[in-house]
């Protein structure tokens, strides 16, 4: 019996992904700025889905308030740019701010039980939204633009933003990937499967969860930064909206909770739906909500999770495979 991490499929696939990333770098050089802006939106969705999945799928933490960090990223950028930093430096600073703020929040948030955590995070987002509304310098309730970006020619601006989005997405996905492959990752899977059993084996559950929480905060902050860079204008009602949580929940539940590839698929799906039904308004939201509820009840592993289970397929080498060569049939168990 052998324990393997890579299979031929996952080797091919990972090489393919690396190639894809290289190709994507060329996108702004080849495609129109409108298309580039749309693809930037897609990358934002991928990032958000991956981060929400990191929290809920790997940490068992259901947050309906990640928009708090999106807002910190977006308004942080405007704030730092207003202080005189160059826009792109302000973006990095805002991302760091989002992650930093999550640390004191985590001290009490992680002790809360499911519903209190979910709604507690939502209330924190609401509080931040209210604070922003009171600040004239941040545009109060009517919103504000990142005018400092006007110094760049639109084509360049869109390109830089796209590359930043690509960079962030690759960075955070890679961070999550290596986190899951490390011994830390195995303990995270254990926590997800049975928290009490994991704790009794010495897994430091609290520290692991904190790591995921802070990572997700960084990632959502980065997404917020990208939102303001991509759309230029932000207002508290949209940036701190619980709608973001609705999107994240849809992407991850439909794509596949707790799988690495699932959220990416969910993001692509949501992106496709959004671009098709551009002004679908309430109807497409009804569909989103119904789909999320139906998947939660009937298909909890999501599309990718079900496919993975049926076909025994694993594209990204995140888990382990036990290959039994004795009886020749190559029977495999995957985690």
């Amino acid at each position: 019996m052998k324990v393997e991490r890579w299979t031929r499929t996952s080797r091919t696939f990972t090489a393919g992904v690396a190639a894809l990333v290289v190709v994507l770098f060329a996108v702004p050089l080849v495609l129109d700025p409108d298309v580039v802006q749309k693809l930037t939106t897609l990358l934002i969705l991928v990032l958000l889905a991956a981060m929400w999945n990191a929290l809920a799928g790997y940490g068992g933490l259901l947050s309906v308030g990640q928009q708090a960090f999106i807002g910190i990223g977006a308004y942080g950028t405007v704030f730092f740019a207003g202080l005189g930093m160059t826009p792109y430096a302000a973006m990095v600073a805002a991302t760091v701010l989002a992650g930093a703020i999550s640390i004191p929040i985590s001290l009490f948030a992680l002790r809360l039980r499911a519903a209190q955590f979910a709604i507690g995070m939502w209330v924190i987002a609401e509080v931040l939204s209210l604070i922003v509304r009171l600040d004239r310098n941040l545009g109060a309730g009517t919103g504000i633009s990142l005018i400092q970006l006007n110094q760049y020619e639109p084509n360049f601006r869109q390109a830089y933003t796209f590359w930043l989005a690509l960079g962030f997405t690759v960075l955070f996905l890679a961070a999550l990937f290596f986190l899951l492959r490390s011994p830390l990752g195995a303990s995270l899977q254990a926590i997800r499967d049975d928290e009490d059993a994991a704790r009794s084996l010495g897994v430091r559950v609290a520290a692991r969860k904190r790591m995921l929480f802070v990572l997700a905060a960084f990632g959502c902050g980065a997404a917020g930064v990208l939102v303001v860079a991509n759309t230029l204008f932000i207002e508290p009602a949209s940036v701190f909206s619980v709608q973001w949580s609705a999107y994240m929940i849809f992407m991850v539940l439909v794509g596949g909770l707790g799988t690495f590839e699932g959220p990416i698929i969910g993001a692509i799906l949501l992106f496709a739906i959004q671009t098709t039904f551009t002004q679908g308004g309430p109807w497409y939201l009804v569909g989103l909500g119904a789909a999320a509820a139906l998947f939660a009840l009937f298909l909890p592993r999501g599309l990718w999770g079900t496919v993975e289970e049926r076909l025994g397929l694993r594209l990204m080498p995140v888990g382990y495979r036990v290959v039994d060569r004795r009886n020749g049939s190559g029977e495999v168990t995957t985690t």
Partner: protein, 292 residues
């Protein structure tokens, strides 16, 4: 005088929040579920009453009496379809499923009724506007008193039901140990359905009060949910009378907050909620043990 006025308004506002929160608290007490669509169900009740008033010109009270059985049936259906299934699945499933449901309800309401804002203040007769002047600067609104009285009645009735009737004992028994309850002949499915129907009916009452005291639109639900949940947490999860007190505490926090700055009222409630969470659950071990 203004502080006393604010306190009084806070109590009245809090009674409204308590009614909103009552159903949420009941469902949590019996089934350990937090229904994230609770606020939207209250708003749905308001819309049904609104339709009755719009079509027939009846008073708000009559409209509510018509809306009530509809909501009760809806509650039964909700339990037997969505909630029952999610009870058996993991811890997160009820939250996810009810969140999805919340979005569905909000947007269906928007499709049927347009995003316009409505109110039933006009159909409640003089209730909405009348008040009594008491000793100079103190003004006691009739609506406020009615909501407070109704809140106390609803909570008392619920308490009497749970302590003095067989159906109430069965609900408590099922809440404490559903498995043992089944073994003793209690149909736990039926108990849960009844609890949900009751919770939804009381939510509809909350929706009616919302419609009378202010305005509502299809997306008012989440705000009501947050206030209801805050009331439940402040008063202590799992305690029925705690929810009434929690609602009043929330109301008072908001009205006192408004005294500090008009835009500070909702924030004051949020801060009270977060403070309660930190104190109750933040724990004594507040150290930054990050590197462990």
């Amino acid at each position: 005088m203004t502080i006393v006025n604010a306190l009084l308004q806070g109590v009245f506002l809090g009674a409204f929040y308590a009614v909103l929160a009552c159903g949420l608290s009941l469902m949590f007490g019996v089934m350990r579920i937090i229904n994230l669509a609770h606020g939207d169900l209250a708003v749905l009740g308001a819309y049904i009453a609104f339709v009755v008033v719009d079509r027939t010109g009846a008073s708000a009270l009559v409209a509510f009496i018509v809306a009530l059985p509809v909501m009760v049936v809806f509650g039964y259906v909700l339990q037997l379809t969505v909630l029952e299934r999610s009870l058996k699945a993991g811890l997160l499933t009820p939250l996810l499923a009810t969140f999805g449901l919340s979005i569905v309800i909000q947007n269906l309401l928007q499709i049927v009724f347009s995003p316009d804002v409505h109110s039933l203040g006009g159909s409640a007769g003089s209730l909405t506007t009348s008040s009594w002047q008491v000793t100079g600067g103190l003004s006691v609104s009739a609506l406020g008193v009615v909501v407070l009285v109704v809140a106390v009645l609803v909570f008392s009735a619920l308490q009497l039901f749970l302590s003095n009737t067989r159906a109430g004992w069965r609900m408590r028994a099922t809440a404490e140990d559903a498995d043992a309850a089944e073994l003793v002949g209690i149909d736990s499915r039926g108990v849960y359905a009844r609890a949900t129907a009751l919770a939804v009916a009381i939510a509809a009452l909350g929706g009616l009060f919302l419609a009378i005291r202010s305005v509502f639109d299809p997306v008012s639900g989440p705000t009501q949910l947050i206030f209801a949940f805050e009331a439940v947490v402040i008063g202590g999860m799992g305690s029925l009378w705690g929810t009434l007190l929690g609602g009043i505490a929330l109301g008072v926090a908001q009205t006192l907050g408004a005294q500090v700055h008009p835009q500070f009222s909702v924030m004051a409630g949020h801060l009270l909620f977060l403070a309660v969470l930190v104190v109750r659950f933040g724990g004594a071990r507040f150290s930054l043990r990050f590197a462990r």
